[in-house]
């Protein structure tokens, strides 16, 4: 079965065997992209071994080793920052990919470097355009063979399973791809064995379970430099609605139990999750959304922006994940950095409504201003809010 994708204009025969694969996403229709544009391979071959012999990244063309060839291009995912099309650069420089924060923290803790400023990443990377005060211009590759401190060596051996270039730990709870697909291909709960039937899907509606494949399955202990799986999860807990409360994000035990009905991406912006294009030394340099971002304070309402430009990135994001019909003229919340919280829109009457990006569930966002809240204006960290606002209280 021959297909001539509009984008390449070159016939390919992949669908002879793969006609049953579902479309990977509405943004990548097969009649436009075909298969070879993203996956590589020998487009005219009808022998499986030959056809697959030059595929990029095996089942996963978004692996960082091949992502530029697979997903890059100025009209695709390595365009300019001004057009919000620098996805590959952003994710490659993000702390999730470089693991620079963890590496710097451990090396600093055990005397291998004098401060916590990152010098090393999982791979070497440069950033020619630093835009933030904490941004770094480059990282060298972390090479455990050059380390002398035993804990740092143990860290390298036991604790490098969560960055986006790493293969995950074995087991369904950790099942994810590498590269872009680590987050954008929902794999949580799959029996993720090598050569097993795979999943052909990309989405921006990322459920919390996908984040959990790294963020909530246990903790790395600095005492023994080992990963310790959570022991409070019973059996295979993911994908069970009644488990959501128990299964929700538990960063080193500080579980908020406040916004547990939401998904991580409902609050955390694309800049936080996928990087802002700069190389950072610590996640706190990039993670900044707080309770007040959406709820405001006693003195201030949350920041908003009325969409006037039909090219506003908020409209593009809402188009890709159409859980709400966002339009020019709508007022949405924005963060202090100006990032669009495109799923939180002001409705007639003034109330704000959040729509779950992965669930489509609708919530009215309560505002602190004008409420009976007794917060102190200089106490805006979540721990203060959770003194009252937690599921137990």
């Amino acid at each position: 079965m021959a297909l001539t994708p509009t984008l390449t204009g070159q016939p390919e025969y992949c669908l002879t065997c793969h006609a049953d694969l579902p479309e990977i996403s509405p943004s990548h229709p097969v009649e436009t992209f075909g298969c070879v544009k993203c996956h590589g391979g020998e487009r005219l071959a009808l022998d499986a071994d030959l056809a697959h012999s030059t595929m990029r990244g095996g089942q996963n063309p978004s692996d960082f080793s091949v992502v530029e060839a697979s997903c890059g291009g100025s009209d695709c995912h390595s365009g300019s920052a001004g057009q919000d099309r620098d996805h590959i650069h952003r994710v490659m420089t993000s702390v999730q990919a470089t693991y620079a924060g963890a590496i710097a923290g451990v090396r600093y803790a055990f005397g291998a470097q004098p401060d916590q400023t990152a010098r090393l990443g999982i791979f070497a990377i440069d950033d020619a355009q630093v835009t933030t005060s904490t941004g770094l211009t480059s990282l060298a590759a972390f090479d455990p063979a050059t380390e002398t401190a035993p804990p740092v060596i143990a860290f390298a051996q036991n604790c490098l399973n969560c960055h986006l270039a790493a293969d995950p730990l074995p087991g369904a709870d950790y099942a994810r791809f590498t590269g872009c697909a680590a987050c954008h291909t929902p794999t949580a709960g799959m029996d993720f064995q090598p050569n097993a039937p795979t999943i052909h899907r990309l989405t921006t509606a990322i459920p919390y379970t996908q984040c959990n494949t790294c963020h909530n399955r246990g903790n790395y202990s600095l005492r023994d430099m080992q990963f310790h799986p959570r022991t409070d999860l019973y059996g295979r807990s993911i994908e069970r609605p009644d488990d959501r409360l128990q299964d929700y994000y538990q960063p080193i035990g500080q579980f908020t139990k406040c916004e547990w009905e939401l998904d991580c991406v409902d609050c955390h912006t694309r800049g936080e999750a996928m990087g802002d294009g700069d190389i950072h030394s610590h996640k706190l340099e990039i993670q900044y959304v707080q309770c007040r971002t959406c709820h405001g304070t006693l003195a201030e309402s949350p920041l908003t922006r009325t969409i006037a430009d039909p090219n506003d990135v908020a409209l593009r994001l809402a188009f890709l994940n159409p859980v709400l019909d966002l339009k020019v003229g709508d007022t949405i919340m924005v963060t202090e950095k100006g990032e669009a919280l495109w799923n939180v829109r002001q409705r007639p009457g003034g109330r704000f409504e959040m729509v779950g990006k992965a669930t489509g569930a609708r919530y009215t966002v309560p505002l602190v201003k004008g409420s009976a809240c007794t917060q102190k204006l200089d106490q805006q960290e979540s721990r203060y809010c959770h003194e009252c606002h937690a599921v137990q209280r």
Binding site: A2, T4, P5, T6, L7, G9, P11, P26, S27, H28, P29, E31, T32, F33, D75, C76, Q83, R85, P310, N311, L315, R316, F319, L320
Partner: protein, 147 residues
């Protein structure tokens, strides 16, 4: 069974002849296989390029004011008061097929929108929809050129 020593000289196949015959046979076989491959290679015909012009039939089939989607040609033919106009329905961003919308066209892949004249209303497309040449022949047929 007679041994080689018992066989008359005229019937004996010497080792030299046997090896020579075998070598020639193998060379002939490989030559034939190679020739077969060469013939197959030379007779390969790639898939024909997609057509660059389409006979749309009689112009009278497209009344004034009509907007006709031409799926094969990936085009939209419009009969305006000034004559026939055709727009490519291939999005200039990445090549998805745009769809008619109330205010013009929209791309279902990445959300680009175009007005009724094909101009960009919003990206990511940076260029307008391509206007295609429509030729009305003496016999009344419309020919759409997509190249």
């Amino acid at each position: 069974m007679p041994s080689n020593a018992d066989m008359p000289n005229g019937d004996r196949l010497s080792r030299r002849d046997f090896l020579s015959l075998t070598t020639r046979g193998l060379l002939s076989l490989s030559g034939l296989l190679g020739l077969g491959g060469l013939i197959r290679f030379l007779s390969y015909r790639p898939d024909p390029a997609p057509p660059a012009q389409f006979d749309l039939g009689l112009a009278a089939n497209y009344p004034p004011g009509s907007r006709t989607e031409l799926a094969d040609a990936r085009a939209l033919l419009i009969h305006t008061p000034n004559g026939f106009v055709a727009y490519s329905t291939i999005c200039p961003h990445l090549g998805c097929r745009v769809q008619p919308a109330d205010d013009g066209f929209k791309c279902p892949c990445h959300g680009s929108r175009f007005d009724r004249q094909g101009a960009v209303l919003n990206g990511p497309a940076a260029r307008p929809l391509r206007i295609l040449r429509v030729e009305e022949q003496a016999d009344g047929h419309l020919i759409l050129h997509t190249d």
